[in-house]
Symmetry: C2
Subunit: 298 residues, 2 copies
């Protein structure tokens, strides 16, 4: 997905929010905002928004000397989600359609995204879960995914955020585990999950976990390691979680790729609505907050 | 008021909204956004936000060759407010405290601000009026203003927006008319009232109307004409409407100046709360949507 003009104010807001999270220095806040403005003035808008995210957050790390500004937030999100895990696991086991509920909860978990919103209250996660438990599901999309998982020999699962990966684990546990490789980010970027988070939530004991070699809040293939790119090319099925992966991979044209996300921004809602290969709701409109399952191509 | 970092995403959003209002050309939209970003990266943050507004809107006019992009919107707002005028006038006449209601409605009319929100629905104006009619008033601030008006020999009324000036007229009609001079903007800037609007709503027949010689959505004295500056210096009392006048004059230190506004942005709400010389509500907090009467200095 290209960068829309409406993404630009959001970049600036992200720079402000992130700078405030990392340092109390008003001078550093101002410097970062000025640098973001200057960079955004020159950025190629045909690149997806996460490329700008990479640039902003790299600069925050450079300016502050803090390698992983969201480290505590990620640990907290993992711990919080792990406390929810036993109850959600039980609900999935008891559900009439366990797979469908696991998919829905995996999308709900995508609410834990500190790139969109700098602070997230635990109540918002609870609300997203309640909504997921009560959601009217897109049965045909779920069956499509179920079928794709059943017939794939190798599944590459592109994780999104810390905390959220506990919800991913619930879905992954519905798959044949030795088929699955989970990819996390190569180094810290916002609250995206890295290997440390995969370990913290027990994923490394369950399935093969690799990192993609990059520090972009999405998946820009050219920026990823060769080994990741080979796996991406070879996988029978790719499951890509979250907005960042949608923004960076929605034009890759792969039919064996499914996006699972919760829509948290109006630009993405519009992109999904207008470029939709399937109606999103009865009116063909994707709304904010919606959980979306979507193939990479018809 | 200085420009806060939180004003910056709003500048960018304003540039996008205004560009879209004026032209359908995506190239011009992009050019304007890039220029706004580059300018904001260099702008002195000790200047008030309307200075950036001036720059953005000047550039829109240059790029599009349209001298007054908000002309139709201003005409529409005037016509709409004039339709409300007879009923509001009657309510004021019948009110127990006509002056208090006129002041409150003048603040409510400040909702008609296309700098904050690029499109305003008529329902929002109706809601603001209903809220004003039902508001619990700050009696002591109103009495303070009443007293200041009664004892002033010359009153300079700094108008804000088209449409809103119909509400200003209701308040001005509570004053001794030959004491009052209304100042409008020197040339078109967003939907700020100019002489044409003052004529359209009948103000020029009622009181002396001057223009301030500038195209800034506020009052930056150095940028105004000499004749305006002399009037500003000489006036016994200044009534300054709207956020833009608050942003540009709140540090002028004049006790004989009253701001009347409806708070539409969190930065101004915070500025009023933290720099308050009077408690804004019982907790000393100014909230969004609040109608505020405030002296320029203790």
């Amino acid at each position: 997905m290209r960068t829309y003009l409406d993404c630009v104010p959001c970049f600036v807001q992200q720079a402000i929010d992130s700078a405030r999270r990392v340092t109390d220095s008003p001078m550093m806040h101002e410097q970062l905002v000025r640098e973001t403005l200057a960079a955004a003035a020159e950025m190629p808008f045909d690149q997806p928004p996460p490329v700008m995210g990479q640039l902003i957050h790299r600069r925050i790390r450079e300016l502050t000397g803090i390698r992983d500004p969201y480290h505590a937030a990620k640990q907290q999100a993992n711990a919080f989600a792990l406390r929810l895990y036993p109850d959600l696991k039980r609900r999935i086991e008891r559900a009439e359609d366990s797979f469908a509920l696991a998919v829905t909860l995996a999308m709900a978990g995508n609410i834990i995204d500190l790139g969109v919103k700098s602070h997230l209250a635990e109540e918002e996660v609870h609300s997203a879960i309640v909504e997921a438990l009560e959601a009217t599901l897109d049965r045909s999309a779920i069956d499509d995914l179920r079928q794709a998982i059943a017939s794939a020999h190798t599944i590459l699962y592109l994780a999104d955020n810390a905390g959220e990966i506990v919800f991913d684990r619930l879905l992954i546990e519905q798959m044949t585990l030795n088929k699955v490789t989970v990819a996390v980010k190569g180094s810290p970027i916002i609250n995206d999950a890295t290997r440390e988070d995969a370990e913290a939530v027990g994923l490394t004991k369950l399935v093969n976990v690799i990192d993609n070699g990059a520090d972009i809040p999405g998946t820009v293939l050219e920026a990823c390691s060769d080994s990741f790119q080979r796996l991406f090319e070879a996988a029978d099925l790719i499951i890509a979680k979250g907005q960042g992966n949608y923004e960076t991979l929605n034009e890759c044209g792969r039919r064996n790729l499914f996006f699972l996300l919760k829509v948290k921004c109006p630009v993405i809602a519009r992109d999904i609505s207008t470029n939709g290969d399937a109606a999103i709701d009865q009116k063909g409109v994707c709304r904010l907050g919606q959980m979306v399952i979507r193939r990479g191509a018809r």
